[in-house]
Amino acid sequence: MTEPSNSKVIVEAEGIVKVLGTAPNEIKVLKGIDLELQTGELTLMMGPSGSGKTTLLSILGCILSPTQGQLTIAGLKTQNMSKEQLANLRRKHVGFVFQSYNLVPTLTAVENVMLALDLRDINGPGAYDQAAEALESVGLGHRINAMPSKMSGGEKQRVSIARALAGSPSVILADEPTAALDAKNGMAVMELLAQVAQDTRRAVLAVTHDHRTLQFADRIITIDDGRIAGSERPKISGKAVEMAAH
């Protein structure tokens, strides 16, 4: 599959090194990662446990700072940014989907999405409609007032995706989004992420162990021992099959 014609590089990582701990017990988790994420693409990142996937995801999401290397998101270089500046960058440009959803248990589905909008200073009566629309777009229009405790894992992950979409971030980073779901719900969530990635203003990167999700990928990156071991674009993705069927 070729790169989408109107896609652009939204995340650019150059020579990312991450060292955890202090000498003599320090561990070099990432050993020089060069990576670009393009809009309109769903990139899957795979690799064995301890290979550095989650650390890389945290760095790409501006949650951790690299020990060395340069990260640029939506044209903004993150080097020398303070904690609050990084939080501001995350708020404006990054959406997260977590393995265990991380919804606020005391808020309803729509309120969880409204919370993410509120962080972006989108509030007032319009925020409710916008959050409800986000939930409708992930197929949860009928569950907007449900509490997370009353929702299935698949529903919670869809709320989490709706929350990540709130405020239209440039990149969505998903950490094992299907790990806590059964096969059917896992596929539905991946389908949803693939749809999200069709937006040419946005890139989606998902860390996964689940080989069944590969069919949705526009690009697959393999990481091993802190280095990128492979990067390929499948000739025909699940998306391509579906589009061809239509």
Partner: protein, 404 residues
């Protein structure tokens, strides 16, 4: 949101009827909603917080009310018989620290420029012998009957005019047990003279344990063994337009063995003596401090443990890009909400207690300025108590969201 509607797994869900009220309805700000949902989530913990604040508010309100009640009680006689200036014996600590002026002060004061009138007031300790036996010390107070400021006030039975007759007194109903009388016309002995009860007052009580016994100025002089010109104080009224400080200095110059105080100065001196020099005020202040400490500890403990319970949510918020200020706001709103609810309940309880104490020997006063002050203290206390929780949240590492 602009997703292409293609996933068959989602199609069914999307066609389901939405319960969403399409509206521009006003919504509670999310930061407030998150704060109160967090707060009410653990009801037991919230109950403990509110009870803690309530207890603290009641304690501080009652102690402050007693302080205010005591201050008012100390100054009650001064307030009931107001004057522009008070001529008092040199070194007087309080209005109920009685000694006699020499006797020439009234005329000296009257001759000073700017003085309209000067009235005698006598205050003296006296021995009260109960009709059925037993003695107690009382504070005898005599004022001139023709004065519009004649004491006592709040007469419920009998009259002030009846006090102009010889050997007559007035006392407060709440002292009946202490003085061994029960109704008008009962008799007792005051400094060896038989006196008759001709007037009864309501809620005219002294700050000390000594009951007030009121009589006319002439009768008080006789009972206290003073000569016919003597008094404890001169209550001076100024002519309109007279400069109070000029007149005060002039009287003081003319009467070097006295002090000339304004109403406010005499009031403050009496209150300071009883509340500061005797340590009574310090005991009440200690009670208030204890209430505040209890409140701070309870609120701090509960907010900290609530923050710990919700730490993953705060970490998620941080990961989603919430600034430290946003999360601090959530904690502060939780603290303020706890304070508001605790204050409302605590103040209601304190008002009930104050109402119940109204006809007892304990005088507790609640005023609007004091209630406002207590409200500010309660909210301040809760905000201060939130410090440990705030330190905890601002140190959250958002990276923990990936390790769960």
């Amino acid at each position: 949101m602009e997703l292409a509607a293609s996933a068959p797994a989602l199609a069914k869900a999307r066609t389901a009827k939405s319960p969403r009220p399409r509206s521009g309805k006003r919504t509670v700000p999310m930061v407030v909603k998150l704060a109160y949902r967090n707060l009410f989530h653990d009801r037991l913990s919230f109950f403990v917080t509110v009870v803690g604040i309530m207890f603290s508010v009641v304690l501080v309100a009652v102690q402050s009310g007693i302080y205010l009640g005591s201050a008012n009680k100390i100054a009650a006689i001064i307030d009931a018989a107001p004057a522009d200036l008070w001529v008092v014996p040199l070194g007087t600590k309080s209005y109920d620290d009685p000694s006699f002026l020499s006797g020439r002060e009234r005329y000296m004061a009257l001759s000073a420029p700017g003085v309209a009138n000067s009235e005698d007031m006598l205050v003296s300790f006296a021995r009260w012998r109960k009709p059925l036996g037993g003695e107690t010390t009382v504070l005898l107070i005599g004022t001139a009957g023709e004065s519009p400021k004649a004491l006592p006030l709040n007469i419920t039975d009998g009259s002030r005019a009846a006090l102009e007759a010889p050997n007559t007194v007035a006392i407060d109903r709440s002292y009946f047990n202490d003085l061994g009388v029960s109704e008008l016309n009962d008799v007792a002995e005051l400094n060896g003279t038989t006196v008759k009860l001709v007037a009864i007052t309501k809620r005219v009580r002294s700050f000390t344990t000594l009951p007030f016994v009121f009589t006319s100025i002439e009768e008080s002089r006789r009972l206290a063994g003073a000569n016919q010109d003597q008094a404890s104080y001169q209550r001076v009224t100024l002519l309109p337009g007279a400069n109070i400080e000029t007149v005060r200095k002039e009287i003081e110059r003319r009467l070097p063995d006295t002090e000339v105080l304004t109403q406010a100065q005499f009031r403050t001196r009496s209150q300071d003596y009883w509340l500061k020099q005797t340590g009574a005020g310090a005991a009440l202040d200690a009670g208030k401090l204890l209430g505040l400490i209890v409140g701070i500890v309870i609120v701090a403990q509960t907010l900290y443990s609530s923050t710990k319970d919700h730490i993953n949510e705060f970490a998620t918020l941080r990961a989603l890009g919430a600034g430290a200020g946003y999360i601090v706001k959530v904690i502060l709103i939780q603290a303020i909400l706890s304070g508001l609810i605790g204050y409302t309940l605590g103040m209601s309880l304190a008002l009930i207690a104050i109402q119940a104490a109204q006809d007892t020997k304990l005088t507790i006063i609640m005023t609007t300025p004091l209630a406002v002050q207590l409200f500010a203290i309660t909210i301040g206390m809760c905000i201060f108590a939130a410090t440990s929780a705030i330190i905890k949240v601002v140190r959250i590492d958002p990276a923990v969201v990936f390790s769960r």
